[in-house]
Symmetry: D2
Subunit: 298 residues, 4 copies
């Protein structure tokens, strides 16, 4: 089957190769023409513009976006929709906010274009050899593109999740759970680290990965990390975040769903960005005021 | 090799069978003599008292306790230590508090008895067919009993974790992480449940178990639970706890380790035990006092 | 001085009387003409439309809005701005979101109208006899309306807080702190309530209000509430919220400020709205799956 | 009336003067004999030993301890109880754990000595000029010492709270609430500090202290702190704690009372003691493993 890929970053590039491995005819574009040249060397058709990509595909066309969420996705969809025609299919495989996806599906539907929002998990390795993917959009039209998902996903690794927005929503919540799981694991190791015992963290992660209740891919990953740096002494504990955890928390607030664990995971990330806090100064000042407790000076 | 098992509850009974499967000579006792009779039917030697169990074993003896933590473990250890002699080995495979294990190891060492604290994970199925086990105690003596652990554990599923107390400490922290992971997963599904979308939770858990970052045994278990009751409509959301989560939180406090996710997991369990709260009434009363906000009457 | 009041709810009505007590000429309008009639009986000029209210005032006019935040404020500002002219002053005394206030100030500035965002605290009693008020807007023009604020506030109870938006922002954060303080007090009484002791909560609140570190107006209010219902047995612990706590949490997230206490106060309010939770069911189901722990049936 | 004071630290010294101001005959002892000499200069009888202090008092004796909680209180009570006789009264005005107070009351009751546990709030200034005090112990005997409490407390600032332990329990919970209130205030100012606005924090605290819902002594104290250091730039935000917050959290756990705000207040204090965290490193390592997200190196 024919498919166009817009965006040849780490994810999109690997996805294109993954599709090609499954005998799909892939046409690829990126504004970085070097990436286009590179992928041509892999036997994939590279083109110089979104318009050319669209023209190169048989109708009804299937175009997959793998570009950064937000403004760039917005601009690329706007441009692609100029060339696309009624009956064509546009798939957003990026980490877009589900509210944007609901809106975009409605806007594109006015032109007869079918929009699918796909949350993709599994990292760059997954993109290359088998992703986990959650797809929202029209149920009937989905069947026509299902073979793509079946091919690029690991076994049982794709799900048509319902109407537009449901795919990105599901991926967002997935990331929220991921924040909570990661923080839970991290707190556990912090307690070990402060304890009276002298644990080998790689071995601890390893035993927990074999038969315990908390065995999980994240535990495997931390086992791997400890195998390379036994006490993570080379790292700073600064925990950045890329937005989906915050969306999950905001969504939970909107839905009045009490999600303290996911929320606290996010707040501890924010806390880790600072060496000192103004709130800490306020509490220290208050203790000094009422109790004469000594403060630490800057 | 010869081993005695005290305690034939779900865990101990399965463990005895597991050991027998690996060609160990098992002598078993439980104060419930029916359980003793039952296990005799499995080809295991059953005895009528702890004293008889000890006398039945060749020196140096290896005795494994699998009885409820707390007072019962205390009493059983006291009784067993009357019959045991210097050079014998006593293994506590239950969920004892690591502080008790540190103390017991010291007390038994005065009599020359070697004590090992073993945290066991994997549930009753694990006890039968392959556990995950973390063992604290004397490093040298451990080697003499290592074959038992190797046999009953899944591959790579046992770890000698260091001095006395370290096994139960590790199991305790494992359970703390488990609380956090479970609450993270639970909050994710709650957000899905309150959303505008209409998800099939079994399918969601299934896709997340195939290729996603959050794939884990707990996610497999919830997939299984959803397969039996699609919306868990038969259950109440009352979350009981059996003590190790609380110990983890208390230990984190003692170590001044900030573990908000594990802590909040525990607090939400306590909250779930109540239909209404006094704190809620206080806030409702305050809102009424200063803002004239309506209160809901009982 | 002359001033127009739009909105004669509990807050606006009392504010109008408060202003009149301080010898200001008040013209008042509400779409509920009964309220207009009622306030005429108090010696205040009542009018039948916003347009009439504006025409009735000498230039430069000062108009104070005291209407519900959101759409109604938006509509009333739109209508008032049709009659107002360059140099006139519009004050929003409601609980508007500060982002709306920033936008409105810019939009009205294009017409030469000065906009002030005023966060008002102190409840209806405060509106009548002395408010606490935080005002954002043009620093120079503020001087011309300062006498109003000085008159209606308690001593030292008004603050020009800076550029547009700063008044409503300050009130929003005030409410966030209020959420945290209320929950802290509430948790304290819950611990007392579950304790082995038998406290008289009114007396406890009273002693804490006399000389202790936590003496506060909120503690006085709860003393008062306990004096009327010693154990709050007539109330349900359902904690509603009116939006500003949520805005504070969302703003903290946007600013990457870790505010766990204000955040958890909000989440416990959401939790109190439900008798049972889906997250609780998920955890109960998981415990049953791996440990065979009994679940409570619906 | 006659009273003996053991312990002339900041609190005990001021309390002795406070009692003397109200015409009580005070006999004072401290192991620091310089303090004893100093207080002699204030017209108070100083003695060189606990035994001498006890002998110096008419029967039934009233002895007030104001020494550090824990081992020192334990030792001093032990020594004092050697000299005290049946019918005498021992008051512990320090910050003892309520469980210790329950035990001590029972132990002293065996000798016929009446024990009272008094939680004292209000700081050193309060000790000198008017405390807030909560007293547990025998209800009948309390009447005989009530005049002391009435004299040293602010008006309505003392409460007989019930049986032994109830005084220290109440003080403990008071401190828990204090933690929550302080953190709520601190988070509010942190949000202001990170905002787009430019607030004068002293003025903000001042306006909030005049007519707002959150007016409180703690807000007055922070107003005072800001008046001395407008941005607290001289302070580090390290938040120490002296134990009663931790006891409150532990007690809440024992009572299965969900107290997330008090708990998180404590955890943020612990977090503030560290510049970097092991948990942060674990999360950073995990993000790097699955997403190739850059880590910050040490």
């Amino acid at each position: 089957m024919n498919i166009g890929i817009i965006g040849l970053g780490k994810m999109g590039y690997n996805l294109a190769l993954n599709l090609k491995d499954h005998n799909h005819e892939v046409t690829a574009f990126d504004k970085d023409l070097d990436a286009v040249e590179r992928i041509k060397g892999e036997g994939i058709t590279g083109v110089a513009s979104i318009e050319e990509l669209v023209q190169n595909l048989p109708k009804p066309r299937v175009v997959w976006l793998m570009v950064p969420a937000g403004n760039i996705t917005e601009m690329v969809i706007e441009e692609a929709s100029k060339s696309l025609e009624a009956g064509d299919i546009l798939i957003d495989g990026g980490n877009s906010n589900y509210k944007d996806s609901v809106r975009r599906a409605e806007q594109l539907a006015e032109k007869g274009i079918y929009f699918f929002d796909c949350g993709t998990s599994g990292g760059t390795e997954g993109a290359r050899h088998g992703v986990c993917i959650m797809i929202g959009g029209d149920a009937e039209v989905f069947k026509s593109i299902e073979p793509f998902f079946k091919d690029i996903a690991v076994e049982n690794g794709y799900l048509y999740s319902g109407k537009s927005g449901s795919g990105h929503f599901l991926k967002m919540v997935h990331n929220g759970i991921e924040y909570g799981m990661m923080q839970a694991i991290a707190e556990g190791f912090e307690i070990l680290d402060k304890s009276q015992f002298d644990y080998d963290y790689e071995k601890v992660a390893k035993v927990w990965n074999n038969g315990s209740v908390i065995r999980s891919w994240l535990m495997e990953l931390i086992e791997n990390a400890f195998s390379k740096d036994a006490n993570l002494s080379g790292l700073k504990g600064v925990m950045h975040s890329s937005g989906e955890g915050k969306w999950t928390v905001e969504t939970a607030l909107d839905l009045q769903a009490a999600a303290p664990v996911i929320t606290m995971s996010l707040l501890m990330r924010y806390r880790s960005l600072e060496e000192d806090t103004f709130s800490g100064k306020v509490v220290a000042a208050l203790r000094n005021e009422f109790g004469g407790h000594a403060v630490e000076k800057n």
